[in-house]
Symmetry: C2
Subunit: 201 residues, 2 copies
């Protein structure tokens, strides 16, 4: 008689798996609609065990949002291309694809992050900073020189403003494309970085 | 014996006066900190009368936010100047001055409007649309032609994105000016409109 060996997952692995499920559930529903009960049902484990992993609903939501923005940072990682504009265009394409595939979750995260919850705001702001700082860090001084710019506080300020514009354009376009094609939108998103940087204080 | 004639204010006037007081109180505290109790104390009238005017705290907050964004729309009204860039620069200067003078209230309104309250979001979005649509309506086709652009869905989309960028830049700069002067910031805000429009889809 043979027995299937029991695979014992570490608590960290189990928790990560549950978070992945949480993020997946979020793709088609808002953060408000994502309850511990729903996760328990989908994961087929007890609510008690979930509370063991996540403490309470607020902690659970924060963990899911942390995981979702981590996914976003990963899928938009710069590709290995010597041309900065190409790297930027590919990252923006992947960013747009992520928001298209996870629209409900993304809107919900932006809203949660813009609301009065300090932790959510901090998670979201550090993700946004990671996304924009990467433009400087991955490019290095040489990459920035391609754009004819230096790494100054004014330039960093404008890049953050540009990121807010990209977010608004993407959300507005997904809501109502207005006859604008996806490639045309991507071209605008890419072109506006160099243009706005040229007016940096 | 003379008596001071009693001035009987209409309910609408009285309500408007209370809203002005609400907006003034908001200049130095967040929306969450603005209670009916506080307004009653400052206005020296009963809480019961305030509930008569505003229903409940949520309705009161909505009325105050409506009033605040109305103020913002008024102070940024285009001046009578034939040059579109001048009109834009003056409106942006007044917008910046408003946010500087009402920073706590403004941040609080942006947060409330970005959160999960549909009414707040709608109030704020219509204000933002009013601010950006004005760029087209006040300019008219002739004004837009000065910028070398037409009134297309792509251009309207980009203007909304630019408005999100302006908001981000102003809030970031007020939080930490990074050694950037006010005139330098204003020049960036003004210049980026034409630049981003040149990349409209």
């Amino acid at each position: 008689m043979t027995t299937t060996p029991r695979v014992r997952m570490s608590p960290a692995t189990r928790r990560a798996q549950l978070l992945d499920l949480g993020v997946a559930l979020l793709a088609t529903r808002s953060l408000d609609e994502l309850s511990i009960d729903l996760l328990a049902e989908e994961a087929n484990i007890s609510r008690g065990l979930l509370y063991h992993y996540f403490g309470n609903k607020q902690d659970f939501h924060e963990a899911v949002v942390r995981r979702a923005v981590q996914d976003l940072i990963e899928v938009t990682a710069p590709v290995d291309d010597p041309d900065m504009v190409t790297r930027l265009a590919v990252s923006l394409d992947n960013y747009l694809a992520y928001v298209e595939a996870n629209r409900v979750a993304y809107v919900s995260i932006v809203r949660a992050a813009s609301g009065n919850n300090d932790t959510m705001r901090e998670i979201y702001q550090s993700a946004r900073n990671a996304l924009t700082d990467r433009i400087f860090d991955a490019a290095g001084p040489a990459g920035l020189a391609e754009f004819g710019i230096e790494d100054t506080p004014g330039v960093r300020l404008v890049v953050r403003g540009w990121a807010a514009m990209v977010e608004q354009l993407v959300l507005d376009w997904i809501d109502d494309p207005r006859g604008i094609s996806r490639p045309a939108l991507l071209e605008t998103l890419t072109a506006t970085l160099a243009l706005t940087l040229s007016a940096a204080p």
